[in-house]
């Protein structure tokens, strides 16, 4: 079973995304911010990280810099072009961008294609 790490400071988003992915047959772990995410990565190696790019606390660039071997999908309320302007999408393991509020089917199909390709 593939594991997805969902990082978002909003509890309802964590739970909703977690629910959708669990029903679709993934194992889901969650983290509330960058620090928590790095903690979780000590003990877990997820196949994919869904990462909110605007969270209080440590900047997410810390995660992106440290985690180079796991695919990351950004989730954000701002548009992709705005995120790009902030120089966030340059790392090669950042593979996709989910504009919030996302369409359920988009989320599922994105995760599916990303994780199946790896096999």
């Amino acid at each position: 079973m593939k594991t997805v790490l969902v990082v978002d400071d909003d509890v309802d988003i964590r739970e909703s995304v977690g629910m959708i992915l669990r029903i679709n047959g993934y194992r889901v772990i969650t983290a509330v911010d960058a620090d928590d995410c790095l903690d979780k990565l000590q003990s877990e190696t997820p196949d994919l990280i869904l990462l909110d790019i605007m969270m209080p606390g440590k900047p997410i660039t810390d995660i992106v810099k440290q985690v180079t071997d796991i695919k990351i999908v950004f989730m954000s309320i701002v548009r992709e072009s705005d995120a790009k302007n902030k120089g966030l999408c340059e790392q090669s393991n950042v593979v996709d961008f989910l504009q919030k509020p996302f369409n359920l089917n988009d989320l599922v199909s994105k995760v599916e294609t990303l994780l199946n390709k790896e096999v």
Binding site: S16, I77, K100, P101, N103, L104
Partner: protein, 470 residues
């Protein structure tokens, strides 16, 4: 910032012909002439009566010459003294004048330094205090303005955050993640989802407006074939036009590749086309065209729909302005689309406007400059034309009806009768009761019509009927 007169350069002509200089110098010369003339006149009389006749006759010419010479020398001296004394007054006044001009331009940091130790120095100090107070007010106004935009931006982001889990849960329900739904449940759910989408759209529009107002609107300029953008946008919108069987006709001239943000042009076009579709009848057509002009490209979207009154044409770019509330309610939409279009176009120093005739349709125009504007300036989008229009109407009432006009204006305003038709009716009643001559009435109507966006000549037609009616 201190005013320095020397910066202005030395202008002898200005200096000599300063009115204060002239007046004071003249005054000095007059005073200086009267005193020696009187003095010498008395001396002359005394000399005449005391000196022996022979001696006086002998020395008379010399005395006269010396007397005239003394008078002339004193007059010239007085002129100089007067000139420099007056300059000490006119110089600080000139300083004050230049500082006031700076304030007029909106520079409230200006301070003047006058050390004359008199009333003019006091005036200068008062001026400094006034500009300081004005500067403070201006700063506060800017801060409030910025706070408004900031508030809009933060609120929109905060409002958008809960939309994400809400929509996710709704979609899971809809997709049957939690079990099969009955027909009624599905219907209820689709209404909730539709309105969640609508709410989200409004929030997105608010975010866009906050970006425009804070000059944070992003433009990604690339060399673009605008014709392709127009064609692509039109074919994208064909899907929406199909429902009403509306034909989208694209008509573009030839023009070179220009540097623009294709997404922004497309965004404005999409908005205008979707509006045109909304306000068109079934089975009609919409013409989209692009023409190269001297320093810009002129794009237009023409429909054969309901059209707009002149007042609507002026105010249609205001946020939430309802052209026809019944129509809008039927078609939905946030009421912010055109306001956003205006913001995007004006951020590129372009123009956007509409020409329309009721019952015949409307044409929206906007321009895209051939050279991109990289320095984006803030644009006020959340701004109503209503107060501007009312102020203009009030001015016209005042100029045409005199002091009474303001009272009349207020009365109409209280009755909520400030639409163009209401005012025309009011003017008609004035002419009917011979309070206003026909010519004046027409002039008045022309002025009011102009405020509501009437072109000259529209009302001239009415002139004929007016004359026929006597």
């Amino acid at each position: 910032m201190l005013i320095d007169l020397d910066d202005e350069g030395f202008d002898l002509k200005k200096l000599v012909f300063s009115k204060i200089n002239r007046k004071l110098t003249f005054l000095f010369v007059i005073v200086a002439l009267i005193a020696p003339i009187l003095g010498i006149y008395y001396f002359y009389i005394i000399a005449n009566s005391t000196l022996s006749e022979a001696l006086f006759a002998d020395q008379g010419d010399l005395i006269r010459i010396v007397a005239i010479a003394i008078i002339v020398i004193i007059a010239v001296d007085a002129g100089f003294v007067g000139f420099f004394v007056s300059r000490s007054i006119s110089k600080p006044i000139k300083k004050l004048y230049m500082a006031t001009k700076e304030v007029e331009k909106g520079n409230y940091d200006i301070r003047i330094d006058i050390n004359t130790n008199d009333e003019i120095e006091e005036l200068g100090n008062a001026f400094n205090r006034t500009t300081a107070a004005l500067g403070k007010m201006d700063k506060e106004r800017r801060e409030i303005d910025r706070a408004k935009t900031e508030f809009l931006s933060i609120t929109s982001h905060e409002l958008r955050t809960p939309m994400t889990p809400m929509k996710a849960q709704l979609q899971m329900l809809e997709e049957g993640y939690f079990g099969k739904l009955s027909k009624e449940q599905k219907e209820s759910l689709s209404i909730i989802i539709r309105n969640a989408d609508r709410l989200d759209k409004i929030i997105v529009d608010f975010l866009e407006i906050s970006r425009i107002e804070a000059a944070r609107l992003k433009f990604d300029f690339t060399r673009t074939d605008l014709r392709k953008i127009v064609k692509d946008t039109a074919s994208f919108m064909k899907g929406f036009a199909k429902e009403k069987n509306i034909d989208l006709v694209v008509n573009t001239g030839k023009f070179p590749l220009i540097e623009v943000d294709p997404d922004r042009v497309s965004q404005v076009l999409r908005n205008l086309i979707s509006n045109a579709i909304k306000f068109s009848e079934n089975n009609s057509k919409i013409e989209i065209s692009a023409k190269a002009k001297e320093d810009h490209i002129l794009l237009s979207v023409k429909d054969y729909g309901y059209g707009m009154t002149p007042e609507d044409q002026v105010r249609v770019f205001e946020p939430f302005y309802q052209v026809d509330s019944a129509l809008r309610r039927r078609h939905g939409g946030t009421g912010l689309g055109l306001a956003i279009c205006r913001g995007i176009v004006e951020a590129q120093k372009g123009k956007i406007w509409v020409e329309s005739i009721v019952g015949e349709g409307s044409t929206f125009y906007f321009t895209v400059p051939l050279k991109p504007v990289r320095k984006i300036e803030p644009i006020k989008v959340l701004f109503s034309q209503k107060s501007v229009i009312e102020r203009k109407i009030r001015e016209e009432f005042k100029t045409i009806l005199g002091p009474l006009g303001v009272g009349e204006f207020n009365e109409l305003k209280n009755k909520n009768a400030l639409s163009k038709d209401d005012i025309f009716e009011y003017i008609d009643s004035l002419t009917e009761h011979y309070i206003l001559e026909c010519d004046r009435g027409l002039y008045f109507k022309n002025k009011i019509g102009g405020i509501f966006g009437d072109k000259k000549g529209v009302i001239n037609n009415e002139k004929d009927t007016f004359i026929q009616n006597g």
